[in-house]
Symmetry: C2
Subunit: 336 residues, 2 copies
């Protein structure tokens, strides 16, 4: 039996820049039709020029693969409607980071004052530009996302025409928020469908499974699995695949991020097969995103997988992937 | 102003063996009068011969420092009363590990069947040998200790004459259990008085702060601080100082344990001074243990500390201590 996925999309992806981009760009663009590209470079993407130039570097790194990078800006409350209108054709979404919450987010938002945010968010609502949010407070690590839900709800209430995407959700509280507001959506990563804090710190400490938001409790993972496996129409796959060089992961002060791009489709197929939900994978991996992001065009790509062992490389260049050196049950056998 | 500590005791210490023992033995024995020595070597200490031989190796490693290693056996439900009576003069306590719960604990207890444990625990009660327990279930990492409290209570109820020491407690649930049963006592580490999971995994991942039980929530740390700082008579200092070579901490699959022995007295002095509780430190660091462990003799030692910067070495041999390379506020200026 083979599994056919049409135009898989990764709605939350870190491609980095320069040498790292040249390593990871080809991997994502080979099997995915497109991806929402995170803007948290150093410095972050905040201008039209930087955005267009980054898009060009990405396309170059993707070496002719059929792949559309959906570009995002790093949220600033000072973006004017004129500026956003001028960049709209190049821009798919804007990503908001609370200040200091994760890798390269120092310039993010420090408070969530509606009046301060209103001009930009009103302009985004009008121009139909979705807002992607890394939703964590600065509280205790296991509570940060649940504490942020009230901010999601405040924004959803105050900006009812703004599509708000709760990125890489990890808790049952975020899942519950999904159905309370028409304009709240979510991405879920592969790793948060698979692991809990037990996998990170329950046995030996596993730096390669350390990420932000940190993996939560078993009941949180169950809540995430439920909406992903049922193909909930407001939920999209977003890998948050985040490459770091090996030394930055296996050190005193390990960087946050799990690199999943090259194994995501294989492992998602196994997970959805195991749970007799393979008929919902197309929704999770592509169709829901197509419906939610009405402003994207999606290149046609067909990815065929079969039950056939895939030996995951120990490293891709200097980046250790999830399941490094392990054998997966499904392989991609054809991409057209 | 100088702080004088009389006969400080570390009621939970890992000294390891061979080369590591030769590194850490002198450090603990210099400033402490004695310590309860953990038996989880490979293989664990389960015979009189192994116990006596290990004690001799420890004394040799301590290079003439005034220091008594209080020896423990690795708990087995098959120890007979005759065996325990024969070893009683050399033995201070018996340490029980649930199987597989931490470093070198594979041979621990796999269920807590009262009837199976009764012969040994009755003999220990009669011979007045305290039982030290690493109290964690195999559950979700943040719940393991709280889940174990019912086992503590079951043992305390069934063996009312047995002194049971809840080792390195990390939760408010364990603190609450202390006052419910006359025969429950506890040790608290330095690091669990200082850190929460936020310090381990809230920013970058910090392998040198990874330990078992894992550091918990802010409210748990508050509960621990309260009983330590008030000199609660059932609470003793036990560092659980656990040296690992640097490569075993900074790697893919980091070992659990924080090495605090050489900085514990300095940092405890700072903590108790900060909280206007310095008059309670003698209880926490020695007197309570003297009252709880009625079977120990304590060598006289006087440790004098003053407010004077202490630069913590980056490493002791190949072991990275807590506060490596940082400056502490208090120094040990004299030991007699």
């Amino acid at each position: 039996m083979s599994i056919t996925l049409n135009s898989p999309l990764d709605m939350h992806l870190h491609l980095r820049d320069e040498e790292m981009l040249s390593v990871v760009g080809p991997l994502s663009s080979e099997s995915f039709s497109g991806a929402i590209i995170m803007p948290n470079l150093v410095p972050p993407i905040t201008t039209k020029e930087a955005l267009i130039s980054y898009k060009e570097r990405i396309l170059k790194a993707c070496k002719g693969n059929t792949f559309t990078p959906y570009m995002t800006l790093f949220f600033k409350p000072t973006y004017s409607k004129e500026f956003l209108a001028s960049i709209k054709d190049e821009l798919t979404a804007i990503k908001l980071y609370p200040a200091g919450i994760t890798t390269n987010s120092q310039g993010g938002v420090s408070g969530f004052d509606v009046d301060e945010l209103r001009p930009t968010l009103d302009a985004m609502s009008e121009l139909e530009i979705p807002l992607c949010i890394h939703g964590e407070t600065n509280g205790f690590v296991m509570d940060r996302e649940a504490e942020f839900v009230s901010i999601y709800e405040m924004l959803a209430t105050n900006f009812p025409k703004l599509k708000i995407i709760m990125e890489h959700i990890t808790t049952k509280e975020s899942v519950e928020a999904l159905d309370k507001f028409d304009n709240l959506y979510a991405t879920i990563t592969l790793h948060h469908l698979l692991i809990t804090l037990d996998d990170v710190a329950g046995g030996m400490l596993q730096p390669h499974l350390f990420c932000k938001p940190i993996a939560k409790r078993p009941e949180d993972r169950e809540a995430l699995r439920k909406v992903a496996l049922e193909g909930h129409p407001k939920v999209m796959f977003g890998s948050d695949s985040a490459p770091h060089p090996q030394h930055a992961k296996e050190s005193c002060g390990c960087a946050a991020g799990v690199f999943t791009a090259p194994i995501a489709l294989q492992v998602l197929t196994e997970l959805f097969m195991e749970h007799s939900s393979i008929d919902k994978l197309q929704s999770f991996i592509s169709s829901n995103a197509r419906n939610i992001y009405s402003n994207i065009e999606i290149p046609t790509k067909t990815v065929i997988l079969e039950e056939k062992n895939f030996e995951v490389p120990g490293k891709y260049a200097d980046v250790v992937p999830m399941f490094s050196g392990e054998t997966l049950k499904y392989s991609i056998i054809k991409i057209t």
